[in-house]
Amino acid sequence: MQHLSQGTREARTFDAIVVGSGLTGGWAAKDLCEKGLKTLVLERGRKVEHGKDYTTFAKNPWDFRYPNGRTPQDEVEKHYQKQQRTGYTVNDQWNHWFVKDDEHPYTETKRFDWIRGYHVGGRSITWGRQSYRWSDLDFEANAKEGVGVDWPVRYADLAPWYDYVERWMGVSGSKEGLPQLPDGIFQPPMDFNAVEKDLKARVEGRYPERRITIGRTAHLTKPTGEQMKLGRGTCQSRNLCMRGCVFGAYMSSNGASLIAADHTDNMTLQPDSIVTEVIFDAKLNKATGVRVQDAHTKEITEYYAKVIFLCASTLNSTWLMLHSKSDRFPNGFGNDSDELGRNVMDHHLGVGAQADVDGYEDRYYSGRRPNGIYIPRFRNLGDGGTKRNDFARGYGYQGGASRTGWQRLVAEMGFGKELKDDISEPGPWTIGIGGFGEMLPYRDNRVTMNSDVKDIDGLPTLKFDVSIRQNELNMRKDMQASAEEMLAAAGFKNVRGFDRPYGPGLGIHEMGTARMGRDPKTSVLNSWAQVHACTNVYVTDGSFMTSAACVNPSLTYLAMTARAADHAVTALKRGEL
């Protein structure tokens, strides 16, 4: 029995509903509100206020219960067995931005790393911030190779939205003129250090098809007036970003888009609200609203709107659609194609090389750059010279050089005064680069609903059956070999390749489970990210991805979100939704 006690139906009716307040939800909220729509933003997790709720922001290493936020091992075992697989997510500096696995379980047929944060702002607080455009090399690949289905959009469709997103959120980077990695609208690039400068010169000299650039990252290096008006400032190179940034120096929902949305007075942001169902009206052939379970009381309330944006993160939007069954959609909302929950993709990583660097003892850097170097894709670029016969698509590398600190002394022999003197000295330089590889869409890489395992809210959970295949495995060999080759070519010592065990999801780039396509029979969403069978619902988180490319996906999610929001408002005005 529903208890529709939260005010009148009128009070629960909006122009638009956005499900989720992470990176894409925040952006959808901003654009819809700025375009005049009364918008309800529903977030399953707790409220987080920019600045005020970044509780660890100013803490020193000695202010935590254990050094620099180390989480006791029994707590890790009890709460974070899966969340800790990245090696960096579980730490008291930012544990409050990640779910506890015992509260939000899922089931793995094969290892799948699903790293999540349930609170206002979602993973926009903890994301990697690397921001790269796609090119038509990516958008055309499926069609050319007969893989999956064709993207219903091309670079030209997204280019103006990339412009808009980069300009508004701020991306620091360097223009390179590469066809496979289009330049954007950049704030000044961050610096290379001394070793990286030499790596760049030597690798580019030896391999003309390879380029080393500085990471393109959503940090402000020269804020615009518009950004400063929102209270955002220049990056202070703390590299403690995952604690949350009171300077608003990197793009997050909390520090940017939700503030802008709030300034319009059109936004109602409601935390602790788990959307469990999209309400579909078969007579109108429209979604009329959503059903919400209160995270504390479990009370059910319905909210209504003309247009609904699902931005709950890829697998949670997919969960929501699978969970929204009706006579019209017995297999899940919008799932006429049976593609919902399929084609799970990530970027496979954890493979590359490291090396020791002699010399440069008199060089150092000031600050901790929250960014690295980037080596854009140089395989299978469409010409004979870069063609690989052992795998399709390609990969890029992220990495960097730095001087070791006191941590190196643990592994060395010796103690006493000499050890103590060494604590104050910067150690030798080391360098490392790791690949991010494109993963192809495979129909049988899928998530399904699992009613046998319930989460803390009493809701069914997801079951994963996802793996990388021969194309990815072949690519990984080349990712390691090319990394070793470049570090050796640069003259560095003791080059050590690595290929660490990888579980899909470890890249935290899960995507593709409600893909876009031209044909409703083989895809869930159309070219505007509208559900084919119910066009007043847009899905603009990573669900819509028809292929993965090899670059970090968030900028493309945001460009697609902005494009969809514009489309929705225009369509509403025309009475088309």
């Binding site: 020193n60 091992q73 290379f192 290096t221 202070q236 750059r369 600190g405 010796g414 103690f415 006493g416």
Partner: protein, 202 residues
């Protein structure tokens, strides 16, 4: 070099000045009991895993690993109590067992060497034994670098790692021996070391 009176004083200080007559007698007598358990072993964030006698041995080793010079040393920043707290509240039983049996072993080794406890060795003798353990832990850790799942650490690796960690993440360690700046300002990528001076603590 620390004489026994100073050692006792320090042990007493880090136990809150309430070292028992029995414990001090034990320290002076060399506390040869094996296994070396003579106190309470509750586990919690406030520490109290190590026994008073184990604490004196840890104190002695931490002092040798990072001595006080013209800058603070491990004992000045409370490393022994830190190690106790880590063992009690951070680690699991495996590391506690490693430490407990390691501390029993150093005493047994001292007995075999000189017929006295570790604490009764001269400072130089303690250092000699520690050098042996250092070599052992280095070889053991290297030999097991790729073993999966990682085996339990060597006890001296644990002692050394915890001493360095406790010291370098203390306020004095980070700010007096290193350059500590939580908010450095805009990044500059290529700067002469002479301009920065010391290594960054973070």
């Amino acid at each position: 070099m620390m004489d026994r009176r100073e050692l006792l004083h320090r042990a007493s200080m880090l136990l809150g000045g309430t070292i028992s007559a029995g414990a001090s007698a034990g320290i002076l007598a060399g506390c040869v009991a094996t296994p070396w358990v003579d106190g309470p072993t509750p586990v919690g964030a406030t520490g109290n895993f190590l026994t008073p006698m184990e604490m004196t041995a840890i104190t002695s080793m931490a002092d040798h690993i990072i001595p006080k010079t013209d800058t603070p040393g491990a004992l000045d920043v409370g490393v022994p109590a830190f190690i106790d707290r880590m063992l009690a509240g951070y680690y699991l039983q495996r590391e506690r067992d490693v430490m407990r049996s390691g501390l029993a072993r150093i005493n047994a080794d001292a007995q075999a060497l000189r017929g006295v406890s570790f604490l009764q060795l001269t400072s130089d003798e303690q250092v000699e034994l520690m050098k042996r353990y250092d070599r052992e832990q280095y070889d053991y850790t290297r030999a097991n670098a790729t073993t999966q799942p990682p085996p339990a650490p060597h006890f001296f690796r644990l002692v050394k790692e915890l001493t360095i960690l406790g010291f370098c993440s203390s306020e004095a360690g980070a700010t007096k021996l290193m350059s500590y700046n939580q908010t450095p300002g805009p990044y500059r990528g290529d700067v002469p070391l002479s301009e920065i001076g010391k290594v960054s603590a973070l």
